[in-house]
């Protein structure tokens, strides 16, 4: 094995177990999201109904609401708002993701040179291995930094984009591993999932904000049970943003692990992916200053941050304070490597 790995001990990757584990985690996070969302709707209904029925205890209003004796209008309206905004987001997302980047599309017969042909071939091979019905659109972004991402809310509208830097600095196998990672995002429908979570989270934060200011400026002469609600709303106003951010990040990291495991599943070897990840990581470390400028020069970089195979913030680029493991969309390089069977020697 090459020098790249001299600090790591190599074993095989149990991608089946990894896929299962992260599948469970996703269920948990998404379920929690829906529960919070519903709870928020119920909270508004409770607030509204308790305002007009001051003498009825909260528990009775709550029971009436969830058994539909009283129609929970607010819950239904927030649900409808969520559905509409999800639809709108899905419809416009593909136009958004490449915003600001300098790119061009590669097709089977428009490859300009050997490298572009190879890229297209590699993706087509992975498409065959994944059993996808459609070939994703392939884009090359003209940039020196090494990164790639996948997008599209269905197999049909799927696309992968890759920077020129990544294409030039990786060999065929490593390129294939990166593409396997991206196609795994597509076949696991991660884009749909994260978009859905993002939209729900945003609506949730808007709703709690409106509710908070409503309580603040509304009749604050509440008695008995109503007071409870006011306290809950005020606490949620400050806690909910934190909770959603943590949930989103947990979800995103879970899906990264899944895509890594999926890449190993498609290639049946963990070494190329591990090599590619290390190379991308090291490359970002050595060219930190230059890449920081390059990333900053490309407008709307934040649209893509979560979608990238490698989060630039991981290498300290964009220099936001406290890049701790807790607040990152991607797991650290060591954790990702150990999840696919390359553990750091002590």
């Amino acid at each position: 094995m090459t020098k790249l790995f001299n600090k790591y001990g190599a074993t095989t990757a149990n991608w089946r177990a990894s896929l299962r584990r992260n599948h469970r985690r996703t269920f948990f996070v998404i379920g929690l999201f829906f529960l919070i969302y519903l709870a928020l709707g119920i909270l508004i209904d409770l607030y509204i109904y308790s305002g007009s029925n001051l003498e009825v205890p909260l528990s009775r209003i709550f029971m009436a609401l969830i058994t539909f004796q009283v129609i929970p209008y607010a819950t239904l309206i927030t649900a409808a708002v969520a559905l509409v905004s999800l639809w709108v987001t899905f419809a416009f997302h593909n136009k958004l993701i490449l915003l600001g980047a300098e790119y061009h599309q590669v097709m089977a017969d428009t490859a300009r040179d050997h490298d572009e042909q190879q890229l297209y071939n590699v993706i087509e091979e992975m498409k065959v291995a994944a059993g996808l019905q459609f070939m994703p659109k392939v884009f090359i972004i003209e940039a020196d930094y090494m990164n790639a991402f996948a997008s599209g809310y269905s197999e049909k509208s799927a696309m992968v984009a890759i920077t020129r830097g990544l294409m030039n600095k990786l060999n065929r196998d490593e390129l294939q591993a990166v593409m396997a990672h991206e196609l795994s995002h597509i076949r696991h429908m991660d884009i749909k999932l994260t978009l859905m979570a993002t939209v729900l989270a945003n609506i949730m934060l808007i709703v709690i904000d409106v509710l908070f200011w409503g309580v603040f400026f509304g009749r604050n002469q509440r008695e008995g049970s109503g007071n409870w609600l006011v306290i809950v709303i005020i606490v949620l106003r400050f806690v909910l943003p934190l909770i959603t951010v943590l949930l989103m990040l947990f979800l995103s990291r879970t899906r990264e692990y899944m895509a890594d495991a999926g890449a190993v599943e498609l290639m049946r070897t963990n070494e190329p992916l591990a090599r590619a990840l290390l190379k991308i990581h090291n490359d970002h470390e050595t060219n930190k200053e230059q890449y920081a400028q390059d990333y900053a020069k490309t407008p709307h970089e934040s649209v893509r941050r979560e979608a990238y195979i490698f989060d630039p913030m991981r290498a300290g680029i964009e220099a936001k304070s406290a890049v701790s493991d807790f607040f990152s969309t991607h797991p650290g390089i060591k954790k990702r490597l150990s999840a696919i069977g390359f553990t750091l020697k002590s």
């Binding site: 050997h114 190879q118 071939n121 091979e125 059993g131 599943e265």
Partner: protein, 190 residues
């Protein structure tokens, strides 16, 4: 009380329908993936023909090679038509070995190697073989998923209810024992 039982029955029915549909999807995926192997085999044959034609310009690399490939191709198709799976796989595997011979030829002729067209052809060889291998892998993967689902608990009960429609025995794509031994013993001679 009756309502509860009714709801439970409906839920059970929905669950069975779900499992049924899931298994049908998996069976069709296996069928489609099997056809994908044929598609890739066919594609490989076409790539080969043009490849050998290019290489021929540079050297005498066996006018007979093309004949061999054509012969093997016919043999493969015949055995496939007659349902002789072993013969079919054997012929296809022999085409693969001719391919690796071609790659060695590329290495031995610097002129050829430097040629941009030849480089692209070499990339084409690698990609073609990879696609074939990945198609086989995808086929086996879909069988694994189908078998695992079919044999797990609850699903297996549904399968026994509709065994005519849901119970199939797919064979994994694999080499026969002699071939495995032969590949195992194979060494590159330089």
């Amino acid at each position: 009380m009756w309502i509860v039982i009714l709801i439970l029955l409906i839920a059970l029915g929905a669950y069975i329908v779900m499992i049924y549909n899931q298994l049908i999807r998996m069976i069709e995926a296996v069928n489609n993936n099997e056809k994908e192997i044929d598609i890739q085999l066919d594609r490989r044959y076409k790539v080969f023909e043009s490849l050998i034609n290019v290489v021929r310009k540079y050297m005498d690399y066996e006018k007979s090679t093309l004949k061999d490939v054509v012969a093997l191709r016919n043999q493969a198709q015949q055995s496939k038509a007659s349902g002789d799976v072993k013969g079919h796989m054997g012929a296809e595997n022999k085409i693969s070995s001719i391919l690796s011979g071609l790659n060695v030829v590329f290495e031995n002729y610097p002129d050829l190697k430097a040629n941009q067209n030849a480089m692209q052809l070499q990339e084409e060889i690698v990609s073609t073989e990879n696609k074939l291998a990945y198609a086989k892998q995808a086929f086996n993967d879909s069988i694994e998923r189908y078998n695992a689902t079919k044999k797990s608990f609850f699903q297996s009960m549904v399968v026994s209810l509709f065994s005519g429609k849901l119970d199939f025995k797919f064979t994994y794509w694999q080499l026969d024992q002699d071939k495995i031994q032969e590949q195992e013993d194979y060494k590159v001679e330089l």
